[in-house]
Amino acid sequence: MSVKTPSRLEKVLAGGHMAVTSECGPPRGSDPEPIKKKADMIKDHVDAINITDNQTSVTRLCSLASCIHIKLMGVEPILQMVTRDRNRIALQSDILGAASFDIFNILCLSGDHQNFGDCAQGQNVHDLDSMQLLQAVRHMRDEGKFLGGDEIKRPPQMFAGAAANPFADPFEIRAPRLAKKIAAGAEFIQTQCIFNLDKFERWMEEVRQRGLHEQVAILAGITPFKSAGMAKFMAKRVPGMDIPDEVVKRMSDTPKEKQPEEGIKIAIESIQRLKEVEGVRGFHVMAIEWEEKVPEIVEQSGLYPRPELS
């Protein structure tokens, strides 16, 4: 299969391998060591690492600088970029900045509302939405032009991704929403954390019915629970999250000291089941502030070693 960018992630997928990505959140300060340490823990077990962009609208060291730090370590970054904080000038400018460091992957997002973060009184921008950002990335890469029409010298070469939440409402547009992101230019998809496997499999069925799985590489989102408390919190408080009662119960019924182990076990079981689902092309393992567990999850799910690319 031919590739359009130098992205390692794209090559892994084009080679027919199950891809593995993970993500790291930058620190709330200017010391780059925490992000480098996290990346170092997982770099041998994943193909690329997402760096979040002021996630939950809490101000942090920027995604672009963090991506550069890990790129310089030889790790492949996926630049997360939200449309909340930048207009089209800043978005294009940051894309070029990333491209100047040979960052070859981008994940286009709208971003959490600022109301949830540390600047609730701030403005949001949303000059573009996530689908329009995808279009912008593809336009810059494929046409070699700015949105304004002028030519870009050395256009960015980025493998373009988007997020999908198979559990989000409105129900009627679960598959159409994915189709629209593909039409906008998405080449890979990282899904919301999957805990309701039955529902995810039903979504994949709809996706396959429309042949969407052949047009985009879907990486299933996996998050291990650290504790029963985390499961309960996510079930109740995190918007767009679908955690069945029996999963919360399984965590709660486990003695406290065994809960982290149980959480990992659930994650591994999920990956093993979803590997068999036609159209799942890999996994996005989001171990929130628990990056040290990523290698164990990847190994025990049979996803290690990662493919060597020439």
């Binding site: 709208s110 509302h113 996530s130 689908m131 329009q132 409402d169 009627e172 929403r177």
Partner: protein, 222 residues
């Protein structure tokens, strides 16, 4: 209509505490309908101010007047003869009326008596909600006549974010998700397939991004 809300009385007192002759100027249009700046509210505010100055032992004249509109020259002219008598005018019109009054009576201090909130509707008595942000380029034809610019917290033009839950916005469980409303409308119109049409990057130059806006209609200028 333009929806406004009353300012706290303490704030208004802060503006006019040194004045001796105050005109409370209401407006008979939108702010009357949303019960923030009509004749009734002019009376209530004037009484409250009189009470305040009485308690302060100060003799302050507080007059009341409500105009048909404060956004048209002809109605604002109605106070031409009396405006100079006052050392403070508190306008209970929207931000538009407040400014137009100030433009017309350049040497009189004019203060806002309301906070202007949005373009909206009376959903029920005492509840007003937003419907339009006057972006200058209407997209309602594409969105089943539900506006994502004013009703989606992220003004997303191509569908809901991942936070839409049971028809509600992630910001507030009482706030309807604009995109749920759009999908419901498109479904009712049997036009749901139109959802997949990509809405192009919007020209925001007709929004506030392009600077203060102006509509010139030569056909009605004559």
């Amino acid at each position: 209509m333009i929806v406004a809300d009353k300012k706290p009385i303490e704030e208004i007192i802060g503006y006019v505490q040194d004045a001796n002759r105050i005109l409370i100027l209401g407006c008979n249009e939108c702010v009357t309908v949303c019960e923030a700046g009509g004749k009734k509210e002019v009376g209530v505010l004037a009484s409250a101010l009189r009470m305040h100055f009485l308690q302060q032992g100060r003799e302050v004249k507080v007059d009341e007047r409500t105009l048909e509109r404060q956004c048209d020259h002809e109605y604002l002219e109605e106070i031409r003869d009396i405006a100079d008598q006052y050392d403070a005018i508190v306008s209970l019109a929207c931000g538009v009326g407040i400014q137009f009054t100030a433009e017309k009576y350049h040497s009189r201090p004019v203060y806002p008596g309301v906070d202007t909130c949005f373009l909206g509707v009376t959903e029920e008595r005492g509840v007003w909600t937003e419907r339009c942000q006057a972006c200058g380029k209407c997209v309602l034809a594409e969105t089943g006549a539900v506006c994502p610019v004013s009703r989606c917290a992220k003004r997303l033009l191509n569908g809901p974010c991942g936070g839409s839950t049971n028809g509600k916005c992630e910001l507030n469980p009482e706030l309807p998700c604009a995109w749920q409303l759009i999908i419901d409308r498109l479904t009712a119109l049997n036009r749901l397939d139109e959802y997949e049409k990509l809405m192009p990057i919007k020209d925001w130059s007709t929004d506030r991004a392009g600077g203060p806006r102006k509509v010139v209609r030569e056909d009605v200028q004559s």
